[in-house]
Symmetry: C5
Subunit: 157 residues, 5 copies
């Protein structure tokens, strides 16, 4: 039986980060042989955690990617915090990693730059999920290297 990687995103988001992650994961070695993808879409970021938990527990997913795009309002910032705590709890209750991939609309004023951030962050975290499952030594090599997703790496001090 193949491993499963869960991709969960929202209709609230203004860019299809889930599609980027799908494409990236389909390019990794072993797609369709070692692992397959399961994708679900929920209304908003506060719906992500339970959706991930369901895919982990009921579809037996080995890892999940949770995509969200909090808006500019102060209430959105609070929602992102609540969503994030939910994703943390979902990880601990399932003992399964869920990579939280959020792009905040406050990160830029420019839609094109936001798209670039979303594209890059989604692709990099899709690879991180793959590495966590199959090549953890790749992450181990990056320990303390100031690696970023959605911007240039900060590098080590």
């Amino acid at each position: 039986m193949m491993d499963k990687i869960a991709i969960v995103d929202t209709t609230f988001a203004r860019f299809d980060m889930g599609a980027v992650a799908e494409d990236e994961l389909k390019r990794q070695p072993g797609f369709g042989r070692k692992f397959e993808l399961v994708r679900t879409t929920v209304p908003g970021i506060k719906d992500l955690a339970v959706a991930c938990k369901r895919l982990i527990e009921r579809e037996n997913c080995s890892i999940a990617l949770a995509f969200g795009m909090p808006g500019r309002a102060p209430l959105d910032r609070l929602s992102a915090h609540e969503a994030s705590l939910g994703l943390m709890a979902a990880q601990l209750l399932t003992t399964t990693p869920i990579l939280q991939v959020f792009v905040h609309e406050t990160e830029s004023e420019d839609p094109q730059e936001l798209r670039n951030i979303a594209q890059h962050r989604s692709a990099r975290h899709a690879v991180n999920a793959y590495w966590m499952l199959y090549e953890p030594e790749r992450l181990r090599e990056g320990a303390g290297r100031g690696i970023r997703q959605g911007s240039a790496d900060a590098g080590p001090w």
Copy 2:
């Protein structure tokens, strides 16, 4: 046996969002045949989470809608945050989705506009609950489309 959708709201709220959701769900295909509604009212938003958990566990509801209207005071904002974390935990402990449908009095100065927001948001989330149960592909099609409840869709970047 029919599925059950839980509707939980408060006496604190200043508009009957639960009634809007009831009406909307009764218009969906399969009402009274595939699914029925269970409704409970509690005093305030911090009472919503355990009420939803009880309906999910004891009435075997497949999904819940939790309606609340935090007031203008800073303490109300904090209560909303606490209520929201409770709803998050209730979802994870039951592995069942609860759509949080809150209208904040700070969203507008105008009662009529607040009523409009409450009406629209309640109706749209009632449909979301229906889709999550019976037509998840409708949400999948909306992934990253900037869809909103209570205001015009933001659309994709």
Copy 3:
């Protein structure tokens, strides 16, 4: 065997809200026949949650009322938030409602007004607890009616 309603309050509080609730509940139909009261006092608001959980689990209480009075200092506000999250968790872990009845010293500068708020809020929430157990339709009738405890009802929009 009679139902039990738990009343938990603090020595930190500056008004005996628990006594108000006791009086109010003793006036409800069925007191001493359908239901009885169990009361415990703890030092401060962060001790309320576990005390409620113990009464629910060990004394088999059907519902609890938790009374607290956060002071004026910023640290008090944070304590109230932590206490509130604890009460939320206690509800979810026991699947039993706990009505949080807090009066914040910042709600008024005037001790007499604070006493009035505390009196009214305690009595109204005692009745809410009674209704939740025995007359839930009373709450259902108040859905979206802008009902308050400790001040005049806001009414519907």
Copy 4:
């Protein structure tokens, strides 16, 4: 078998509150006959919660006192909040009271006054722990009396 009261403190703290609590508890009736003390020291306040849980579960302690002294930096305030939420969760997961006894360095500029606060608060809460176990009616008598630890009682309104 004797009851056990857990005393947990930190090396981060700048005053030995645990020692004050030990002394106070040793003066209570029944020490060494009805109850004994178990003491553990951890590095910082965020280590208190799991240490209390271990003593409650593995040493069978009936109640715990958790002593901490958050510093003046904003990050210290956040750590105290996180530590406090941990202590709340530890209480609920063990259904056992843990009295949180924190002195914040921001409570005074004067080291002597901070020592006085720490001394008084530790002693008073040690007695509270004793009362919770053996003389709960003492706390019941203080309901709503504005009792404080570390400063003069505020008294009732």
Copy 5:
């Protein structure tokens, strides 16, 4: 069978704190005889908690060290808070200590000073982990002594 100490760090960090901890622990008596090390690297600080939980539960680690370096942005501060709450929950769910070793980029403007803080804090907390397992009396002796990691000890008041 040897005890295991878990070391978990991130690729986001800009200094290899995990390596410092490894070196320090290898210098402690009993390394390779009484205890061995298990190390994992994850992308960011919000991935630490579940990684620690997995090592504790699946590798049977007796204690964990979690290293992270939150950046300067306000969102980083919030992430650190969420990560910290996750580590708190992971400790309580496993009843196992996890020492949280975070260096905040806001602690200094100077990379060299940040490296010094990171070096010192990692080494001191590695020793704390060792003491917690094998020499708890060392911590007991330091109760209330104002001991710090990453800066000079504050000392007692």
